[in-house]
């Protein structure tokens, strides 16, 4: 953006989109330097929700850490559970029974749909639709949260996965309800798309805004829908397949213009692919055990391990160092949204203040995970 040198002395003002703000998705602060309405520099300040979970993780036993992982990204508690549980299983080399694997996949894909619905609803809410898309998105989320409650006893902080399987088997009313939810989902996604994809105002607010070229995205360690909307075909479920994802048939939607609109389209595409995986999982799920008997005092062997999964927001990884005792020696969470935020200043320079909100909404942050 060219600035013209004139005799008129203009100054830049510093705007503080402070920790309390309706559209920063939590307590997140951005210090923006503005020249008129155009952004010259942006500095994100975080840490308002820092609870030092990594130190708490060292104090807890391995089993006690599972409810703490729920509170990381509080919208997708099932996938956080899965990442941690799989990391410990890799460390202690525990085999998981078939039925438990299928149940885990079902829960994680339902979580992916919930997360993308909320993310799109929040993005459009920030663009100014006055809550209407958010409430449409939350409609289906309610049914899925009821499913979670049926299985695990809680809507959001599920605490459902355990080392070697899941805590409870599915109750008898679960499968019929799941089938009806999955049957209703394609129509819901279509309705959502009809409201928003061809809306002229959404297009002009989102297209051409926040363009992230693929090599910059890889250099800045972006993952998740952010990376795939920049055209990089990297989905951990396909590249570094874990659990039983290699048995399912699904595509990975990619973006072509690398802007906010593409990130929105990628999320809608991923919702559709999740529905495909759910349909296949419902057909293929076998009967059997859902958990494995572990010793009362669980002491995994010494060593260190890093395991990552494709959570709805990106690559969620756990790095565990064990010294043979009941507590982890080092418990590190590789949080996708924290690292996706590194690219925020790059994306925002040269745009207007109104675009910052759209770009932040497209990165889709949850402060519990950014700050841990």
């Amino acid at each position: 953006m060219q600035t013209v040198e004139t005799r008129l002395r203009t100054e830049t003002i510093t705007l503080n989109m402070g920790p309390q703000h309706p559209s920063t998705h939590g307590v997140f602060r951005m210090i923006i330097t503005l020249d008129g309405e155009t952004i010259v520099d942006l500095e994100p300040v975080m840490g308002y929700l820092h609870r030092c979970q990594e130190k708490i993780g060292e104090r807890n036993t391995y089993l006690q850490n599972i409810p703490y992982t729920d509170r990381l990204d509080y919208i997708c508690s099932m996938s956080n559970n899965l990442a941690y549980v799989m990391a410990v299983e890799k460390l202690a080399q525990i085999e998981v029974p078939e039925r438990a694997e299928y149940i885990r996949i079902i829960m994680v894909e339902l979580t992916r749909i919930v997360n993308h619905a909320v993310a799109i609803g929040a993005l459009l809410n920030d663009l100014g639709c006055f809550f209407t898309p958010m409430l449409y998105a939350l409609e289906e989320r309610e049914r899925i949260l009821d499913l979670f409650e049926m299985a695990s006893g809680s809507r959001m902080m599920c605490n459902y996965m355990r080392f070697g399987g899941v805590r409870y088997d599915l109750p008898p009313g679960f499968m019929p309800e799941l089938k009806s939810v999955v049957a209703a989902l394609p129509d819901f996604i279509d309705e959502f798309e009809r409201l928003l994809t061809d809306n002229e105002i959404v297009r002009i607010r989102c297209q051409g805004v926040g363009i992230l070229p693929p090599d910059v995205a890889v250099g800045y360690s972006c993952t998740g829908p952010l990376l795939r909307a920049s055209g990089v075909d990297y989905d951990i479920r396909k590249v570094d397949s874990y659990s039983i994802y290699d048995r399912f048939d699904f595509d990975v939607p990619l973006g072509t213009n690398y802007d906010v609109y593409d990130r929105y389209l990628v999320r809608i595409g991923e919702m559709r692919q999740s529905v495909r995986i759910l349909e296949q999982a419902i057909e293929q799920i076998p009967e059997g055990e859902v958990s494995v008997k572990l010793p009362r005092v669980f002491k995994p062997p010494e060593g260190d391990v890093y395991h990552r999964i494709e959570s709805p927001k990106g690559e969620l990884g756990f790095y565990l160092v064990s010294d043979g005792s009941t507590n982890p020696y080092r418990y590190k969470i590789r949080s996708p949204t924290f690292i996706n935020l590194i690219v925020l200043p790059e994306l925002c320079k040269g745009h207007k203040v109104a675009d910052v909100v759209a770009i932040l909404g497209s990165i889709d942050i949850v402060l519990g995970e950014v700050d841990r």
Partner: protein
């Protein structure tokens, strides 16, 4: 797979002391002085363009910084680099100029562990506020307790 990478690295940098560490995730241990060159070779010649995680660990005798690298083309299997730093003056070269995504992660390791990164453009605390004393993730930082920082408020 990382065995071959290790062999190639040893060929490329014969005078550095690289060690191959076995385990569930095999790793390559590098000295702090050679880290930048080795990392640059890995990124440019061997195609490890994606830095996934930067972790700091507090062992009883040393600090350790662990880098998990992936290659977009090759796919699975991380390449793990482990660098040691001394307990008194922990300092490691910064890799921000190679992978900009290391920016916030190195700040976090500095903030919570106290390991300095030489060459980082803006090394300051990220999750805790400026003026906080102490580095919480170190083993000598207590798990529980009260801490008064700064001056007492005069009521």
């Amino acid at each position: 797979m990382s065995r071959e990478v290790y062999e190639r690295l040893v060929e490329e940098f014969p005078e550095t002391s690289l060690e191959y560490l076995e385990g569930k995730d095999p790793a390559i241990s590098v000295k702090a002085d050679d880290l930048f060159e080795v990392a640059r070779h890995l990124k440019e010649k061997q195609g490890y363009d994606y830095l996934s995680a930067v972790t700091g660990v507090d062992y009883p005798d040393r600090f350790e910084v662990i880098y998990h690298l992936y290659s977009m083309k090759e796919g699975p299997g991380p390449l793990i680099l482990k660098v040691s730093a001394s307990k008194e003056q922990p300092e490691v070269p910064s890799l921000v100029s190679l992978w900009p995504g290391a920016n916030f992660q190195e700040r976090e390791v500095y903030d919570l562990m106290g390991i300095r990164f030489a060459g980082h453009p803006d090394l300051k605390r990220i999750l805790l506020w400026e003026g906080y004393e102490g580095h919480p993730l170190r083993k000598d930082f207590p798990i529980e307790g009260y801490q008064t920082i700064g001056q007492e408020e005069s009521s």
